[in-house]
Subunit: 171 residues, 2 copies
DNA sequence: CCTATCATGTAATCCGTTACATGATTAT
DNA sequence: ATAATCATGTAACGGATTACATGATAGG
């Protein structure tokens, strides 16, 4: 029971286990896909290795089904809950980088008149996805995901506007 | 002379070598810091290992100063230029994830009234930085960086607006 | 029944980060 | 001179992606 670093991945796993209770890696995979994965995707392999790491550190417990598929099931411990609480209490003052591939290509001289349309379409699609999600959101359930969704919507709108500006500016 | 994957890091190094000509890792470090690093930062160690990787694959040449500091100097090859051209010609249709730590904390229940102010301040600072950069930009030089800067400005404005919205929505 | 897809997991590789180290300049 | 900072690099570690693999379920 050593203490590995807690990464964003760790907090995603812990947070989901806190919310959903005992879950298998595959359960986590589905949870991620329909929630936090919208702005922070994880590979499915991470959802097998990360809980194992967390178990070694005592933040979650691991048990194995005796019958059937013999899946591994994870559950958050008090130590895990405490780690989440501590993390929540220390609001980050960091801002993330854009790290956008399309922008990188533009920076290094890709032709805007080819790049921009592709980006506009992709961002419109993503925007539509988010708006559909908001339609379905009843507003019940935790507040965080609902608030976060708005960030996604605004970001996509901003991107669409930006690439349209690029077109106008260079066209 | 094998063929490693070309990652975004690779294209940043290739692109800078293409633009600036023969450079040492430290030259690259400074170049990154004042240009592309504004939206895609690299650790300085990568600017030593990545050119070495690229050299092994024939995309750049490596030579060593005979005197003084005996620095390594890298220069892009024709193969490297071609790789850049090919990359530029294939505009990406992918959109990046937000992957924002603050948003993750909000998603998992951090108190908005503590998180939002910290984020607003951080984003305002970044925004001011970008706007200062634009002041200094004469508009000479390549178009890409100038266009990319606008993306940063818009993104920061969007974030400030978002967190203010969060405050209003939850306050 | 057969095949496609879902579900479940492990292993290998590799990139990126962090840590370590030391030689040159510049400032005081 | 000496301290501080800049410049230059290597090594170790670890997390993340990719590849590999196979068992179960459902649809045709």
């Amino acid at each position: 029971m050593q203490e590995p670093r807690l990464t964003p991945t760790s907090y995603i796993v812990l947070g989901l286990l806190e919310f959903a209770g005992r879950s298998s890696p595959y359960d986590l995979k589905r949870l991620v896909a329909e929630s936090v994965g919208n702005f922070w995707m994880l590979q499915h392999a991470q959802l097998y290795t990360e809980p194992a790491r967390l178990a070694a550190a005592g933040y979650v417990t691991e048990e194995r089904e005796e019958e059937g598929r013999r899946r591994k099931l994870y559950e958050i411990t008090d130590a895990g809950r405490e780690a989440m609480e501590e993390w929540r209490r220390a609001p980050t003052g960091s801002v993330s980088e854009l790290r956008d591939l399309g922008l990188l290509q533009l920076f290094f001289g890709s032709a805007p008149e080819r790049l921009a349309p592709a980006q506009i379409e992709a961002h419109r699609e993503k925007l539509a996805e988010y708006e559909a999600l908001r339609e379905r959101d009843t507003g019940a359930g935790p507040r965080g995901p609902w608030l976060a969704l708005e960030a996604g919507i605004r970001a996509e709108r901003s991107w669409v506007g930006y690439w349209e500006w690029v077109l106008a500016e260079t066209g």
